[in-house]
Point group: C2
Chain length 349, copies 2
């Protein structure tokens, strides 16, 4: 039971397929009103739905926008996805979604899949990795991207450019992770803490590394000595797993009369960490300060309210598709430090 085709509509309306096409699917040429009406009526009565595949083939433009994320269930990505979806809709595009487990190899495959679909644009929201073992895959990803661009595709990256050579044609919605983390470090460096610790993701994760680096700079700006760095997974469980070690350190410091502040490089890690610390019998901010990064909306009602850095996630998604589609120019996102209760000393309570 094949779908009704444009030709059938044309026949029913007593016109040629060319004419039917012109009236039904936005063309330059507008056929006479009377004919147009007849065609529309025929289409309506037959329940005609244009075949987007065929249209894409004929006009070589698919009306698709590809989005690649690490994990769509992660609120960071799903917020971005909302923006992408909204912008795509406004531009009369549909979004194609691929979730990778993270890592350039899978991202390359995603780009290839999108290229096969001839998506008008690709937005990559996954995080970059510059670990040596990912070098080959990064290289492959760059090549795949170059090929896609050469075939007329457009691409926007959220966060940071590809490690290594970066095709100037790929637009970057750059997130000033380093600067914002630095500002956070500066502000927290001004608070009455004695020791600082960073709970970071594994080395080579660009976002994590830049946030760590920036935070250290900020501490230095504030005249503090560098924070110790603990590496763990870049998610909630990573933060949770880091808790015992942090707890031990905090206790030792506490015995020496020193107060600790921990910066987990993203909110989910921070939440996991706080949960883990609770199991260790430590409370925030009474026993230590904890800060995160991203200001995930779903986590705002969390108590103690988390000191973090706000990122306009949804806006970033919007911007990415608009930039990729050529309706906006690559921009740097603006975020802001938000000090909340999780880093306040007992005195403030």
């Amino acid at each position: 039971m094949p779908a009704v085709t444009l030709t059938e509509v044309a026949r029913r309306a007593g016109v040629s397929p060319a004419t039917a096409s012109r009236v039904l699917n936005g063309s330059e040429r507008k056929p006479a009103a009377e004919i147009a009406e007849r065609v529309r009526a025929a289409a309506e009565s037959l329940g005609y739905i244009p075949n987007a595949q065929a249209q894409a083939l004929a006009r070589s433009s698919s009306g698709l926008v590809g989005l690649v994320v690490n994990d769509i269930a992660d609120p960071y990505f799903s917020s971005i996805a909302r923006g992408v979806q909204a912008a795509a809709r406004e531009h009369l595009r549909t979004v194609l979604l691929i979730g990778t487990a993270g890592g350039p190899a899978e991202e390359r495959r995603a780009v290839e899949a999108f290229a096969a679909r001839r998506t008008d644009a690709i937005v990559i929201a996954g995080s970059r990795s510059d670990r040596p073992q990912d070098a080959a895959d990064n290289e492959a990803l760059s090549r795949e991207t170059a090929r896609y661009l050469a075939n007329g595709g457009h691409m926007a990256l959220i966060g940071h450019p590809f490690p290594g050579d970066q095709d100037p044609a790929v637009r970057v919605i750059s997130v000033p992770n380093r600067d914002l983390a630095r500002e956070l470090g500066r502000r927290l460096g001004g608070e009455p803490f004695d020791d600082y610790v960073v709970v970071a993701g594994r080395g080579g994760l660009v976002t994590s590394d830049l946030r760590t680096e920036g935070f250290q700079q900020g501490l230095a700006d504030a005249g503090r000595s560098p924070a110790g760095v603990v590496r763990t997974d870049f998610d909630r469980d990573g933060g949770f797993a880091a808790a015992p070690g942090i707890a031990a350190a905090v206790r030792t410091a506490h015995d020496a009369g020193r107060r600790t502040c921990v910066f987990a490089v993203n909110d989910r890690m921070a939440i996991g960490l706080v949960a883990g610390l609770r199991e260790e019998g430590l409370r925030v901010p009474r026993d230590l300060g904890v800060a995160g990064f991203d200001d995930i909306e779903t986590l705002r009602d969390f108590r103690p309210a988390l000191t973090t850095v706000r990122l306009p996630l949804e806006e970033m998604g919007r911007l990415a598709v608009e930039t990729a589609l050529g309706d906006a120019s690559p921009a740097e996102v603006t975020g802001s430090v938000v000090l909340r209760r999780s880093t306040q000393g007992p005195a403030h309570t």
Copy 2:
């Protein structure tokens, strides 16, 4: 700079397009090994990427799975989306995502868009509405669905069937909202509370109504009198907005020596409610009990830990695409009541 085509690959390999097609894109007939190798080499050196649109047109199967959600940034939907994405990948499909603001009119448009793309299957995760003013749109959605199915499409609904007539061809991954809420009501009815209140979504929202109804039945099972029902928005802000009213009621009850338990029909509402109550100076569970529904992962570290009903969200997404694709049969999801601290009396502390 057009992409390289199959014909070019064929020419380069010195074979016909037919042969090239057979070796490159999984066909029944396997050309001789030597020829196959030559074709593959040609494809590789040219950087050939098959045009999925053209393939779809020729074989009339798109390799696409459509997913419609209310709001992809809502963790409920993004968890489902993760499952959909994973299952789609396993079935060598790509997912097409459309977010509606909720409401059958937009869902109809989404189905139409998916039908235009000739998606192999559509998964609808949005919530049903049976408000009178949505009747016409529901009707239209049903018709659109019927047309899609008639053209060979497949569809799975997560939650509940369409209000009114339900085409037997659309598969339903049914969520026993009523039964689970009933079980929750029964359990909570056995706890030392005196008054119960339900914070529900607007009337006509099937999910909300069933959970409310089930909860009332459960209370009855436990020998309790019915809960009062407050209607608000079905999201975090709705819960927050309900707080002042709830607070007043709780205080009144408290003065009369009665303890209140509130059931917010989803976790996000519950979290918003707790946040709002905090502003009112009320604490959970000290001053009242609060329960939610869904057991959103991101919210599990929330304190007080929320009593709720666990739903296998990701699994539901998987199941939906497998069922739609014919690899599984429509099933009823199993959830479970999870009693946590938010509904424990002070004694348990």
